[in-house]
Symmetry: C2
Subunit: 206 residues, 2 copies
Amino acid sequence: MQLKDINTEEKIIEAAKNAFMKYGLYGARMQDIADNAGINKALLHYYFRNKEKLFDYVFDGALSKYFEQMLVFSDTSLPIKERIFKYIDNIIDFLSEYPQMSMFIIKEISVNEELFYEKVQNIKKDKGVHLIALLNEGMEKNEIPMIDPTVVMMNIHSLCAYPFLASPIFKAIEKSSGVSFHDEENQKLKKSVKEFVDFKLTLNKN
Amino acid sequence: MQLKDINTEEKIIEAAKNAFMKYGLYGARMQDIADNAGINKALLHYYFRNKEKLFDYVFDGALSKYFEQMLVFSDTSLPIKERIFKYIDNIIDFLSEYPQMSMFIIKEISVNEELFYEKVQNIKKDKGVHLIALLNEGMEKNEIPMIDPTVVMMNIHSLCAYPFLASPIFKAIEKSSGVSFHDEENQKLKKSVKEFVDFKLTLNKN
DNA sequence: GTCTATACGCAGATAGAC
DNA sequence: GTCTATCTGCGTATAGAC
């Protein structure tokens, strides 16, 4: 893995991402990855000793990228609601760019939970703070009403992530009428999620 | 598949459900299914000629069960909001009983979309009406404000389904603090989704 | 219907030439 | 670093006895 190898290695990684994201660890085929990288199987094993290691590389990258997005930027100058809005924009933009990401991570975790326990420790959390912590902070400062932060966090994630997760279903059902949740549709989604947050953090007092 | 075989056949089906739901078509192993059914591989092939056929049986069952839940009961005596509330209760109860169902269906569709196109046709839709149709009806009758029915439908599904989809992540992260979205937690979830619907169908006028 | 034993093919992995 | 050719093992599937 020296500098001059970057081209081949990157082609492998790109092909591996596509294969593993779509078919998972068991479903992906080393032959396909080699084909799509424009090389042969032997060379795959030269770069990454075996399938497991190649998968781990892809999965680890996805995992840390994913969890980076699940943090609120520590810009304490902004009001809490604004920080949450920014968080929502980030997540939707991110999932829009990598629509298979959530599915990939959730599916692989569900197949092999132990694997995940170790990995989640290594993820650096120095770029921001968790949404739940932010909500708690807001309640302490009386900036937002008393809510159940776990439920609100879950609701926000649900509204943002599910449309991308479920898009295979909706694409299939509405393949003729062609409803798409990209481009302009993302704007609708963002608006709707923000309305929900507005509602939860302004009107509601439970 | 005569009457007296029901026991063995059902044991196979039960084991196959567990295996395919967790590991998917490629990840599931016929040996495991046989073991968990308390029989041997040869007998599996006696009942279901091959893996594909066994998978199809399980998948078709899951698919029609799933889409049955995605219908609103045609009880026109109730106000629309009540019908939606019932719909929400149904979905959450259903997903609570079969937490892996959404993941299974979405994942298998994403791996093989063509397969799905054929199957979705065969599903009987005579038990109710789609949520979008209901929302449109409500707007026509001026019973609810003007909303984008696709977005609202997506929002409701998101709020209901995502917690179950993503539970592998949250179970893993909070395995120590042990936040669970079953039992009493389902009540919180239902309440939150209904609040959202209330908000969308009462206060909001966009 | 149920079993044991076995065939077969595919996909991951390695050897070794260039 | 990249290839062709080959090995190996595992998982699906079948043959055939009971």
